[in-house]
């Protein structure tokens, strides 16, 4: 094996290791605000990757992300002062997971768009019921959340991200992942082949919600004040979908790349061009979708193909 081949095999894991080490030691050398910004980008990455664990292979577009995230937020608001932070985050994840399990079980018969809009309606239903409950029963609308220092928030978010990556990887590699893919290709055929379609769908949905809930619980401590409108903001349901499409739905790493670039781009626009943020962002979305129908990963792949072709030509 030539040195070249060895290098070409090793550079990917090496780079991954370097990036993880960089991220893990980030708070030591990055500026205080960069840590905050990366926390926020990581939040979007976590939401998008969790979303794509279920929706990627199965093709079921879930718009319930805001509900799972919001449950985590309310967990932090209700329990933040009473329990230690790791327990609160764990409870946030588990509570979201229970909700996802329930939703998954309820929506078994729904297909395609009906599933998407059902999950969307659910977020709104929860928001309005919670609002009504808070006003009628507790006489409040908003709640204050315990304040946690920014580096801790970053580290927790990074931990969630790493766990999520591992989980996503293991799911894809396992028979479970194959079963999910077969559901996406043809649900009936999958059932005939002996896949327990119900169990696989519902449990994956519940699994993906754990991370969204946990992310919500830790993020709430950055927002300091929340109410049902802030916690159950339907833009947060659409964001993971948009970010995944932006990155490229057909690629395993599209969601990560999409979320990171999308979130960073937004930060640049709202600070550099505050009066034209929406206009510019809208134009970018249109340009990307028209010229890169397979998302940003489509672009990466094109580059790679070209490079390979060039290598062939020179060889």
């Amino acid at each position: 094996m030539s040195i070249d081949r060895v290098l070409s095999k090793l550079w990917v894991p090496a780079l991954l290791l370097i990036v993880l080490v960089l991220l893990a030691t980030f708070t030591r050398y990055a500026s205080a605000y960069t840590v905050i910004l990366v926390t926020s980008i990581l939040m979007y990455v976590v939401l998008t990757v969790s979303w794509s664990i279920f929706s990627g292979p199965t093709g079921y577009i879930s718009l319930a992300s805001a509900a799972f995230f919001g449950v985590g937020i309310y967990t932090a608001a209700l329990l933040g002062t009473k329990l230690p932070l790791p327990i609160v985050i764990l409870i946030g994840g588990l509570a979201s997971s229970c909700l996802a399990f329930l939703v998954g079980a309820l929506t078994l018969r729904l297909k395609g768009t009906y599933f998407a809009i059902f999950t969307f309606g659910l977020v709104e239903l929860i928001k309005h019921l919670l609002l009504w409950y808070e006003i009628r029963m507790t006489g409040t609308r908003g709640r204050f959340v315990i304040v946690v220092d920014n580096n801790t928030i970053y580290q927790v978010m990074l931990a969630i991200f790493v766990l999520l990556l591992l989980t996503a990887y293991l799911v894809r590699r396992s028979r479970w992942g194959l079963a999910l893919k077969s559901i996406g290709e043809n649900e009936q055929a999958a059932a005939h082949m002996g896949v327990n379609v119900t169990l696989v769908k519902v449990s994956t949905f519940a699994l993906s919600a754990v991370f969204m809930g946990a992310a919500g619980a830790i993020m709430a401590t950055r927002w300091t004040y929340i109410d049902p409108y802030i916690a159950f903001n339907y833009f947060l349901s659409f964001m993971p979908v948009l970010m995944a499409i932006f990155g490229g739905l057909g690629h395993s790493f599209g969601p990560i790349l999409g979320a990171a670039v999308f979130a960073y781009l937004e930060e640049v626009l709202i600070t550099r061009f505050p009066y034209y943020y929406m206009l510019l962002f809208g134009i970018i979305l249109l340009v990307v979708i028209v010229y890169l129908p397979n998302g940003l990963m489509g672009l990466v792949q094109t580059w790679r193909t070209r490079r390979l072709e060039r290598q062939h030509a020179t060889a």
Partner: protein, 437 residues
Amino acid sequence: MDTKDLSRREFLRGAAVAGAGLAAAACGPTPAPTAAPTEAPAAAPTETAVVTPVKDKIVVGMSRPLSGWNATIGDAAFRPIYETWVPMVNAEGGIYVEEYGKKLPIELIIYDDKSDVGTMTRLTEKLILEDKVDFLWPASGTAFIFAQAPIATKYGYVLITAEGGATQIKDMLPSLPGVFVTLSFSDWYQLPVLAEILAAKGAKTAYVSYIADLHGIEYSGVAGIEFPKQGIDVVGLKSLPPDIKDLSPVIKDADASGADIFCCFAYPDQNMPACGTSMELGYNPKAWVGGPGVNFGFYHAAFGPAVEGLMGFTAFARGSSPALDQLADTLYEGKPEEINDWWGHPYYWAGLDVWKAAIEKAGTLDQEKIRDVIASASPENPLETVLGPTWFDNGLLAKETHPGEIGQWINGVFEVVGPTDKATAELVYPKPPWPTG
């Protein structure tokens, strides 16, 4: 949708690419605000030098709702004020700061928080940590202030608020020594005055509808305390969800209750249809009171002569004082009526005046000294603003400095009708019938 068979190698490669992207995004140069369309570049962080400090401007940062649902509020309330006030002050060379021995012009850094609290908290920390602004000006809305005030306090910044204020913040203010609230609100000191002037005219019963949020709950709660104090019974209470469209059940319910006073403690999206529906149904209570919105010129522009007799919250009218008359000329003369705001505008303006006066008095840009100057202002030792002598009462703009509390549309002008000693016109009670045709 994943069409490729995913091998471990591909996984790692993809992870590395994406990770590199993430890292690049993270480590990449964070945007300097230099390209903001209306602003010049931000100041370099200032070293508080020991001997002769050098500084050529005061940098002020803001996270504002330039897009999203909150833009209709923020852009109509505080934005026209700072966009008028800053050029006026800069035209005179800026604010004199003794420490530097000269006048320093003001420079604004403005970011768009997309009407999102999470984004606002992040941008606030960006302004403080990265842009190292000298001062922070407020975000828009009560919920946003709740989230922003603890951050400002954490970094030792003074925060004089604009849009928003609530009874709930009163309890928080002792733990927020650098936060000063300028806008008047329910029990500070609107509803006690409302109850008093209506009771004086013989009103006995009230029907209260309110929006299901912080604002509405507070106003309905305070009304439930202040009305009975003046012998007015609250005979009906209805909450409205923020996105309610059809108000006719509420108006019919209010009509059936026969109450003298109808209150709609909600925003324009609700209280404008409430007014329209009242008109359409011929519901004409003796007093019709609306929340934020009635105080804007656009209410008159929208309803024309039908606004006659409608009551709302206010601060001033022409005739309140010569300084305020001049303010009205500066802000509204030769502009469309829609932009007039008789409630919030003078308070936001006064907030900026307080800030300027405190800097001049302290002779420094040091947050703590400026905070002390504002906090120690008193009736004997006030700061001069457009409202006249101004001071704060436990972090709230003292009610003695309010030029008015309750307004009413009379002959096409939103007059101050309460408290009576500050009124520019007498309360019309009962209100005239809706115009016909």
